[in-house]
Amino acid sequence: MLVITCPVCGIEGEEADFHCGGEAHITRPATENPEGITDEAQRDYIYMRKNPKGVHFERWRCDRGCGKWFHACRHTVSMEILGYYGITQKPPAALLKRADPLWQAHFEAQAKKAKSK
């Protein structure tokens, strides 16, 4: 049983008061550009998951409080919640540093892509 504090409204509740929306920061290709999305890109978007054993970023919704989505940073073995951040935000550097290497690679690749544009 997880005890979660909604960073939007500050209400503390149990996992039954929240809804887990799975892995965070999945890019929806069509939002950026609906044209020329490959089958691979579509597959990655819908099905491929990092599924790390360690510190993970995921989406949660405050079901019985404000109804808002937010990001949580959680360890998938200890269940410890290391922090929260806004649903439109990228993970704060302090959390990213502790995150699973897959996540660090993810944001490095994103940064590279942004630069090359």
Binding site: M1, R28, S78
Partner: protein, 1011 residues
């Protein structure tokens, strides 16, 4: 039967015999149907002893007679059934049952009786049944496993019997938070609670026993110069009266979960079921969110296994002592003590002072000494130092011990030299103490092996959890109290006020000598059973066999032998088992490791987990405002989501079919009304509302003019349909969306999710308004005439309210939204009024329509009506794998819009495949034959299975309008097969053939709704 009572007279020399019983108050109870009596304060176990009953159960595998061994919840043997009929509760430990008048208890797992059990024959053949024997046999002949072997094994296994009817009692749950939760109310727990609460922190302290104090009454040692019990009573009182401490007895902390979430079971009424008549629940399950947890769960004494150590009368030393001191009962008339430590000497002197002779103390240590040993020696008890029990003799089928065999023991683990026989009828054994580390481990706490006590203790937990007292291996009273106060203070925080600790003193005790089992003389073990796990009949030889056969990991050994898997989960056996494995593998115990500790700490009722959620509260039923009307009208129900909707309204003798047909014909011929209030309704407003709808639906909505509506389809990102409905434009940037009844909540969340997480710059508000409105469909040729009779300002005329448009106004004194939409193909309106006026409005509709023959129709008629028109229904034509294109709804799938949900997925090879199944209509060759639900079509009927399945029926009905059957189906390339016949092998030897047709069966031009 001449059972000799084992109740000891009041006046032992110590004057402490029977502290918890009230000898002036007798309590009658039954055991196996026979009447007995005990005293108020007795447990069932002590009352049985008092009545001379030592055999209380039979073992699981060999059906050997068994008696009480332990104390409270660690008892492995004395499992009994308590109560009768629907209130029977099996597998209860007699040591935990508090006697109350009328208690009915029965022995288990024995036939015809515990005293004489036929199953004992297993015992004779036991050499054939080593651990894991069933994996090696019962394989031939093959069919025998299911028909012969398994039924026999099933009947023989199991323990008690289940109750014979639904549970008549009630259960409930309670949620709370606290600063500190203290597990266990022994001296350590009480001290920690005192310290933690001194500064005002919210503290819960729970103990599974009826009395607080743990084993402080028999442990020796003093607090502030007096017996521990005095301080215990005072501390318990202070805590109970503090007002910020919740003190709970009969409450077991059953599990520790992630984030310091703790579950506790409070047995509110088991000790006195009469209080349930006054409204008390039987059990209350507590869900506690604790900031900190202090585990003071004590330690459990472990036995030293020896040959035939399971005979009734062999007990743990503290259990003997506690039964004597608390209830004034002894397990026999002449005892022997077998020990490797000093504490058991307390049992010896206590017995003697109560007048129970102690024939011998057999101590495996070569030179026991110290004050406790001296006291026993002075009292005249003979001590065989450096000795062990190497055998046990019993009569009456093993039910009465007559003597033990004693031989010199060398600490290398061997017995040798002359054997001596010591007469006795009971044995008190002590092999040391195992800290209760279960809760510490539930959420991943680790353990370290402590050499001094030869057992495992908690390592620092990652969660805010600490273990103290004997649960932490701190057996010295002074050290224990220091530790407890320190833990309580730490939990309260540095700045909190401090409690005053009592001064503790106790007799020094010598070190223990580890001994995991005492070998029998001769070829040890052969034929003699050294029981490790009593309840599951696991012996030392079984553990060694598992090793020999390669089941080396302790987890394999556990599963192969079932060690520690019984209802006591190895409380008295696991560590000894490790000791035996250590002996046979030469590996030290910590290297062997423990098995995993799992919740619950002790078994707890399923009823308490269901709590209040049983019967009518099992799962919510949502009611529309017209619910009572439908009920009174005799509606049958269809559950949709959590709603109950009227399925049809049979009249008089009518069956459902007749009712449905009548309702359909009423709509087609006259006018019908439907309670459609459960439809999802969502208001959507904001500058980007239209743009949002364009991304959510497959078709375009931003072009909709105020007052106009459009039917839309929603896909998920996999390209599959999941909801549909009509959305109308209420005004500029303001829409009202209708969804399916089952999908209402899901769609609101869907919209919110996209707005909040993906299209975050869109300015749109979404508010679910389903519950605000009662909504009714008024459908049929007479719909308009009926509505025009209503008092109000709404124009129902063809021009005033065109098809697919809406208007707002007042009808019959209530605000109304009127939509001209049709799911039946008839002239049809849907009218929404505020829910509190719904019931009255519904009745007004009926009254107004009476002259036209109006009738209510239910969901089934609705479904047939829509199927006659070839309209799809989400959940029938769709199943989560169907695209709009599969359904031939290309007209609703925009090619122009750049991006909407699911668009890209439709281009995936499999979704764009021309071989996909497509929606078609079906007309059976025999018009009277209705295709079965979900029937599959095949390309051809073949002998060989599987046949080649080419599609399946999605909707199938008798159409009273067309006076024939109709169906819709998804058939591979169906739209290219119009006019062709398809074959449905619907049952063994039965084939139905049907023609593929357009799915619109009735009024293809749509004239009826456009009048």
């Amino acid at each position: 039967m001449s059972n000799k009572p084992y109740r000891v007279p009041t006046a032992g020399t110590g004057g402490t015999v029977g502290r918890l019983i009230d000898r002036s108050q007798t309590v009658d109870f039954t055991w196996n149907g026979q009447k007995h009596s005990g005293y108020a304060g007795d447990t069932l176990a002590s009352a049985l002893f008092a009545n001379g009953i030592r055999v209380v159960g039979r073992s699981f595998k060999y059906h050997r007679p068994r008696g009480v061994i332990g104390l409270g919840s660690n008892e492995p043997n004395a499992l009994v059934g308590v109560g009768t009929g629907a209130r029977l509760e099996p597998n209860i430990r007699a040591t935990q049952v508090e006697l109350f008048p009328g208690l009915a208890a029965t022995a288990q797992n024995a036939w015809p009786s515990v005293e004489f059990d036929i199953g004992q024959i297993n015992s004779l053949a036991s050499r054939l049944f080593p651990a894991g024997f069933y994996y090696k046999t019962f394989m031939w002949p093959q069919a025998f496993w299911k028909s012969v072997y398994e039924p026999i094994i099933r009947r023989a296994a199991g323990l008690g019997v289940a109750p014979d009817g639904p549970d008549p009692d009630t259960y409930e749950q309670f949620n709370c938070h606290c600063d500190v939760l203290v597990v266990g109310g022994g001296v350590a727990g009480l001290a920690a609670a005192e310290a933690a609460s001194a500064g005002g922190a919210r503290v819960i302290i729970a103990d599974e026993n009826p009395q607080f104090g743990g084993i402080s009454d028999i442990a020796g040692g003093t607090l502030d110069g007096e017996a521990q019990s005095k301080w215990v009573a005072e501390a318990a009182q202070r805590l109970a009266q503090a007002g910020h401490v919740h003190v709970m007895s009969r409450t077991t902390v059953i599990g520790h979960f992630h984030h310091n979430y703790v579950m506790m079971l409070e047995r509110v009424a088991d000790h006195d079921p009469r209080i349930m008549n006054d409204g008390a629940p039987r059990h209350r399950l507590w869900k506690v969110r604790a900031k900190r947890v202090i585990i003071a769960s004590g330690a459990i004494e472990r036995p030293i296994p020896f040959a035939n150590n399971d005979r009734p009368g062999v007990m743990l030393s503290t259990a003997v002592r506690a039964h004597l001191v608390r209830y004034g009962v002894a397990p026999g008339y002449r005892g022997v003590i077998f020990t490797n430590n000093d504490d058991a000497y307390r049992t010896a002197t206590e017995l003697l002072s109560a007048g129970v002779p102690v024939a011998r103390i057999i101590d495996v240590r070569p030179e026991p000494d110290g004050p406790l040993v001296e006291a026993a020696r002075t009292a005249g008890i003979e001590i065989s130092a450096g000795s062990a029990i190497c055998g046990l003799l019993a009569k009456s089928g093993g039910k009465h011990i007559t003597s033990v065999k004693v031989a010199p023991y060398s600490t290398t683990g061997r017995v040798s030299g002359a054997e001596e026989q010591v007469d006795c009828d009971f044995v008190a054994v002590s092999g040391g103490w195992n800290p209760v580390v279960h809760l510490h481990c539930h959420n991943g706490g680790k353990l370290d092996f402590n050499d001094e006590i030869q057992s495992f203790v908690s390592r620092k937990h990652d969660d805010p959890v600490v273990t103290i007292g004997s649960a932490n291996g701190s057996f010295d009273l002074a050290a224990l109290m220091d530790e407890a106060y320190a833990a309580g203070e730490a939990a309260a925080g540095a700045s909190a006020a401090k409690a005053k600790a009592p001064k503790a003193a106790s007799e020094p005790e010598g070190a223990l000598e580890p001994l995991w089992y005492a070998p029998a003389t001769g070829k040890y073990n052969e034929g003699n059973k050294h029981f490790i796990d009593f309840q599951n009949d696991v012996t030392a030889a079984d553990l060694e066999l598992a090793q020999r056969e390669g089941y080396e990991s302790v987890e394999h050994t556990k599963r192969y032998t079932t060690l520690g898997m019984a209802t006591d989960q190895g409380k008295t056996s696991n560590i000894i088992g490790l000791g035996v494995l250590s002996g046979s593998t030469g590996k030290p115990i910590p290297e062997i490791g423990t098995t995993t500790f799992r919740p619950p700490y002790t078994p707890f009722s399923f009823g308490s987990i269901a709590g209040t959620q049983v019967g009518k509260l099992f799962h919510v039923v949502r009611r529309t405002a017209q619910f009572d009307w439908h009920k009174e009208a005799g509606a049958t129900w269809e559950p949709i989501g959590d709603w109950r909707r009227a399925y049809c309204y049979p009249k008089g003798e009518e069956d459902k079919h007749a009712a449905i047909n009548r309702e359909i014909l009423t709509v087609r011929g006259k006018v019908g009304i439907l309670d459609a209030s459960t439809l999802g309704k969502i208001e959507i407003k904001g500058p980007d509302a239209g743009a949002l709808l364009d991304r959510i639906y497959t078709n375009t909505f931003s072009t909709l003019k105020p007052g106009r509506g459009r039917y839309g389809l929603m896909m998920n990102e996999m390209g599959f349909l999941f909801d549909d409905g009509v959305t109308v434009c209420l005004g500029k940037d303001h829409y009202l969306m209708h969804t399916t009844s089952g999908g209402a909540e899901r769609v609101v969340q869907w919209l919110e999710e996209w707005l909040q997480t993906e299209w975050t710059d869109m300015k749109v508000f979404v508010t679910a308004v389903t519950e605000q409105w009662s909504q009714f469909a008024v459908a049929g040729p007479k719909a308009r005439t009926l509505l025009e009779k209503l008092e109000g300002d709404v124009d129902f005329s063809a021009d005033g309210l065109a098809f697919m448009s809406m208007s707002e106004g007042t009808l019959e004194g209530t605000r109304a939204r009127v939509f001209r939409i049709s799911f039946s193909g008839e002239l049809s309106y849907e009218i929404a009024v505020p829910a509190n006026t719904g019931r009255v409005f519904w009745e007004k509709l009926l009254a107004a329509g009476e002259e036209f023959g109006v009738e209510p129709y239910g969901t089934e008629a609705l479904h047939v009506l829509r199927a006659e028109k070839g309209f799809i229904a989400i959940g029938d034509e769709t199943d989560g794998t169907v695209t709009p294109l599969d359904l031939g709804m290309n007209w609703a799938v925009s090619k122009k819009k750049a991006d909407y949900l699911g668009k890209r997925a439709l281009e995936l090879p499999h979704l764009a495949d021309e071989n996909r199944k497509e929606l078609v209509g079906l007309l059976t060759e025999d018009p009277n034959e209705v295709l079965p639900d979900g029937a599959y079509a095949v390309s051809s009927v073949t002998e060989k299975l599987p046949m080649d399945m080419i599609g399946q029926v999605t909707s199938t009905y008798w159409s009273p309008t067309l006076n024939r059957s109709i169906a819709m189906a998804l058939i591979k390339k169906g739209r290219t097969k119009m006019g062709e016949k398809v074959t449905f092998p619907v049952a063994e030897g039965k084939v139905i053939r049907a023609e593929i047709v357009d799915p619109v069966f009735y009024d293809k031009e749509g004239e009826r709704q456009n009048v």
